[in-house]
């Protein structure tokens, strides 16, 4: 069920000729575009060492090709910082950028009590006007910060730069420093996340990681009670996913110090360096924080995936393996045994109706990978997949990292130089332990990427364009596509159901055991819906009737 065995992986995908399909996708493009896209559309092939072909990714989208990507600001403010409830996030710029990122991601949060701040409902903006564009906006920004402080007394204020800010020369960091000093009891920090900076939201993730690490992580050394202390990285609590995962941790006796950043708070971030293990869900958006925490504080990280019941069980077991404590192992097994029967019951029922159907997933920087597990559990195969903003390591695995070229766009984004903290660096594992763990199944600091877990002969497409999506539908007519709201109605117009994997079509959770059940049911409803049969009216299906209409 879980990961495919090598034999399965090398067995060909349903009878498609992926090479031919690739040619068909490229055919219509002007030569220059075709040449570029050819490197981003790859037929998967896994060799005996598990090495997969190279795929070009994290490169600029061709102008005029309508795609899925957002901007650096979206990745920084919307994705990484957005889900934290008690930081006041001020967008410095004209109104649109802030408005469009106002609660659109459906990240949920649960304040601890009535005293606990929750600014999730708010969208703060400096609403730049012509005057600021011409004469500079720092003054207005300072006033906005003061205003937010006076009204809400937050612990922290984040400032997010949008495209015009860099161009008119406003220095958000200088303003932040000045206001932090002035306010005294409020941490103020800026993010130079102008939308044009990177090639996608990915650049924004990196900038956000740097900011959170520099300005918040490590501010509070208080050590919390708890035996198995972890942080959960790259989980944003869409549709309540984090709640379900938190439930499982609690039942297993695992202490969650901080999540980055679903259902999280400023204090959790500040204290997160006291954890003993970092778990990474979405590798793309958050691996920088994990690496920096490892270097500075000595916290190891492992890749986990709570999407899929089997994947969830496996991830819990990984945590237990890391802590090497039979008590935890026992608890984890108990929880899995308790949860699985309900999952299996629904899974078998749904599988009977979904087996053999095919899916395509074009989404995000980790979900195109994670969700393949869920589909596999109900017997559905993913024949084509790709990310919107991931890098080569998310496709091919971190083994490619040393050889990655740094292009002009990546060079824009600062790489922080981090060193072990003289007082607080504490290796969590002895060399012996590390050796022992690696002997077993547990890979520290490792992510294998999506492609090694997809069948040979399947299609991998980076930064897919609308045009290519339509072509693929024409060729394959998959039973379902997982993507986002921008693709939803285009695809459904063609009679193929689309599952939104950013916002979950306003339902969820899909993580953990309960989430898996939700997802099975949802996919069953979608791929077995009868509505598509009615696309043709009776008179369109019976030509003798249609013949009467001139417009036919």
């Amino acid at each position: 069920m879980d990961t495919l065995n090598p034999e399965e992986l090398s067995s060909p995908v349903i009878d498609i000729n992926a090479e031919e399909v690739k040619q068909e996708l490229l055919e219509k493009y002007p030569t220059k575009v075709a040449r570029k896209r050819a490197k981003q559309i790859v037929v998967n092939a896994i060799d005996l060492e598990g090495v997969v072909p190279e795929i070009q990714s994290n490169v600029r989208t061709t102008p005029g090709l309508i795609g899925q990507r957002g901007c650096t600001y979206a990745g920084c403010k919307g994705v990484v910082l957005g889900p934290t409830r008690d930081i006041v996030n001020i967008t410095h710029g004209p109104i649109g950028c802030g408005f469009y990122s106002w609660l659109t991601r459906r990240n949920q949060t649960k304040p601890k009590g009535p005293e606990d701040h929750n600014f999730m409902m708010y969208c703060f903006s400096t609403d730049m006007q012509e005057e600021q564009i011409v004469f500079g906006g720092e003054k207005k920004l300072k006033q906005a910060i003061q205003e937010a402080y006076d009204l809400f007394q937050p612990k922290a204020i984040g400032i997010f730069a949008t495209c015009p800010v860099g161009l008119i020369g406003d220095d958000v960091h200088a303003v932040a420093r000045e206001m932090k000093e002035k306010l005294g009891d409020c941490n103020v920090f800026g993010f130079s996340c102008e939308g044009y900076k990177g090639v996608s939201q990915s650049a924004g993730h990196h900038i956000a990681n740097n900011g959170v690490f520099t300005h918040i992580v490590g501010l509070d050394d208080k050590v919390r009670e708890g035996k198995y202390k972890i942080n959960m990285l790259g989980e944003y609590n869409i549709g309540g996913d984090a709640f379900e995962i938190e439930r499982l941790f609690e039942d297993c006796g695992i202490t969650l110090i901080s999540t980055f950043s679903g259902n999280s708070s400023y204090d959790n971030f500040a204290n997160s360096h006291t954890a003993d293990l970092n778990l990474i869900m979405c590798h793309r958006s958050i691996n920088y924080v994990a690496e920096m925490m490892e270097t500075k504080f000595g916290i190891p990280w492992i890749k986990v995936n709570f999407i899929g019941a089997e994947a969830t069980a496996k991830s819990l077991r990984k945590i237990a393996a890391y802590f090497e404590d039979p008590e935890l192992t026992e608890k984890v097994e108990e929880v899995i045994a308790r949860e699985m029967p309900a999952v299996e019951k629904v899974r078998e029922e749904v599988k009977a109706r979904c087996r053999g159907k095919v899916a395509m997933l074009f989404v995000g920087g980790s979900r195109a990978h994670h969700y393949q597990e869920l589909f596999r559990e109900i017997g559905m195969e993913t024949i084509a997949a790709g990310y919107e903003f991931a890098h080569r390591d998310d496709y091919e695995g971190r083994r490619v990292l040393p050889g990655l070229k740094v292009d002009a766009d990546s060079r824009n984004i600062e790489e922080l130089h981090v060193e072990p903290d003289p007082g607080r660096f504490r290796p969590r594992l002895s060399p012996d332990q590390i050796a022992r763990l690696e002997q077993g199944d547990l890979k520290l600091s490792e992510y294998q990427g999506m492609m090694p877990e997809m069948k040979s002969g399947s299609l991998v497409i980076d930064d897919i364009s609308q045009f290519e999506t339509e072509k693929l539908i024409e060729i394959f007519r998959p039973d379902i596509i997982g993507a986002g709201i921008k693709e939803k109605y285009v695809i459904q117009k063609s009679g193929v159901p689309l599952k939104q994997l950013h916002s979950y079509d306003y339902s969820g959770p899909y993580a953990g055991f309960k989430g898996a059940i939700n997802f099975y049911r949802e996919i069953d409803r979608m791929v077995n819906s009868k509505v598509w049969k009615y696309l043709k009216a009776p008179w369109q299906e019976h030509p003798e009737l249609a013949a009467k209409y001139v417009w036919e």
Binding site: C71, I95, C123, L167, V490
Partner: protein
């Protein structure tokens, strides 16, 4: 909630969207058009997702996807490459290029870049029309963007020609259902109409067997070109009066007589609209519409006892707010606050004009409002209901009062694109919804739970 005496510097929970979004909506209402944003791709992505969540329809917006280098050295090359790609792959008949804050700030001369692009392409292929409009969001809201795009289309495409019987109708930003209804009215008057923009089909389309990249529908390009030869233009929206609008361009360039009217919401504004159509067509209002008017009046009488004296807060786009306020005043609801994120400077005068004589006390009228400020005003006003788009939901929830959803964006209810606001029929449906919302609230709050109300 804390309050401050001076006006706020920052905007918290805005009641407006950004300028190019309006332009994209307007372009989407033209046959074969693909909206195109000159800027970095984030803006296009954000606007697409916003528009899609309201209309539940595909909404393609191309982008020139500028990066840091272009932000420094100019985005001309990207714009040209993007135009070329949209031309070759989407078969666009018109590309509507709107600028964004980024390209406005760096000062790209878009009309010049497009001129060059045309020259380079000349002779090789008959390309699509390209219309350009300047839409910096740091000056104006989505409504200014909408009207600017409509004006740009007319300026750049309409020509003189042998006079036709057609009447140009510039409805402003109304719903697809409204546009369909306007078409019906014109048809019943037997007036050949050119409605610009017309996204009744492009933003509320049918399920299809085969997907078309560019949805069918929209104002035909040929018709737009003939707008200079029409016998009249009807332009809706009181805050547009005396402004340099598309209607005004048609007057100045082609002497097409212009009738400027309020957005026809409620009885009196609709009467004025029908009157103009009667005048233009030389015939009385066709029977179905006269009948609808009669039934509406009847409903005004029947509904009065339920809603009389109820206090309402109306917010949203300025012209929508004006129309709704006119309507509320005539059904006996007391608008206590009329708020908009827009800042035309003409809202107060327009509200005064449509409520004159009907209200014992004029409502508070505020431009440039955000929801934080609206929320503060609510404390003292204690309204019974809110009328506006989805963004007011939290206020309604906090106060435990109904929200009548109208306008854009609506992302917490189904069918926002099919809400009818205009005309006798729109007034009827708004009235039914308002009365029922009040009844529902009454029933829910009642300890007895009466079944007859």
């Amino acid at each position: 909630m804390k309050r401050k005496s001076e006006p706020y510097v920052s905007t918290t929970n805005a009641c407006k969207l950004c300028k190019p979004l309006g332009a994209c909506l307007a372009f989407r209402g033209i046959e074969g058009a693909v909206p195109f944003l000159h800027g970095s791709q984030g803006c296009a992505t954000y606007m697409r997702r916003y528009i899609i969540s309201h209309f539940r329809e595909p909404m393609d917006i191309a982008s020139s996807s500028l990066g840091e280098k272009n932000a420094v050295y100019g985005g001309g090359a990207n714009l040209k490459q993007g135009l070329h790609n949209v031309m070759t792959k989407y078969g666009a008949r018109l590309i509507g290029v709107a600028t964004t804050c980024l390209t406005e700030t760096i000062g790209d001369d878009v009309p010049m870049i497009v001129r060059k692009f045309r020259q380079e392409k000349k002779g090789r292929e008959r390309g699509p029309e390209i219309v350009t409009v300047s839409t910096p969001s740091y000056a104006g809201t989505h409504m200014e963007g909408f009207h600017a795009a409509v004006k740009a289309v007319v300026e750049q495409l309409a020509r003189a020609g042998a006079a036709t019987e057609a009447v140009n109708l510039l409805p402003g930003f109304v719903s697809p259902a409204d546009i369909r209804y306007l078409r019906e009215i014109f048809r019943d008057f037997e007036i050949p109409g050119i409605i610009l923009p017309d996204f009744a089909d492009t933003l509320d389309g049918q399920a299809q067997v085969d997907y078309e990249k560019i949805p069918a529908g929209g104002t035909p390009l040929e018709a737009i070109k003939r707008m200079g030869a029409s016998r009249a233009t009807v332009e809706l929206g009181r805050t547009l009066f005396s402004q340099e609008t598309a209607g005004q361009v048609l007057v100045e360039r082609f002497d097409v007589p212009l009738h400027r009217l309020g957005t026809p919401i409620g009885l009196r504004e609709t009467d004025a609209f029908f009157q103009i159509l009667e005048q233009i067509s030389g015939r009385p209002a066709p029977e179905p519409h006269a009948g609808e008017r009669g039934r509406l009046l009847d409903a005004y009488v029947d509904g009065h006892k339920y809603i009389f004296g109820q206090k309402a807060v109306v917010y949203g786009e300025e012209d929508l707010v004006v129309g709704l306020t006119a309507f509320l005043a005539e059904i006996g609801v007391r608008p206590v606050l009329c708020a908009s994120g827009g800042g035309s400077g003409r809202l107060a005068a327009a509200i005064a004009a449509v409520t004159g004589g009907l209200l014992p006390e004029p409502p508070v009228v505020r431009e440039g409002m955000d929801f934080y400020e609206i929320s503060e005003e609510l404390e003292a006003l204690e309204p019974d209901l809110l009328i506006g788009h989805s963004k007011g939901y939290h206020l309604a929830r906090k106060r435990g009062i109904p929200l009548i959803r109208v306008g854009f964006p609506i992302h917490d209810r189904f069918g926002g694109q099919r809400i009818l606001h205009l005309g006798y029929r729109g007034a009827q449906s708004l009235l039914d919804r308002i009365v029922n919302a009040i009844l529902e609230k009454k029933q829910e709050d009642s300890r007895v739970g009466y079944g007859y109300l």
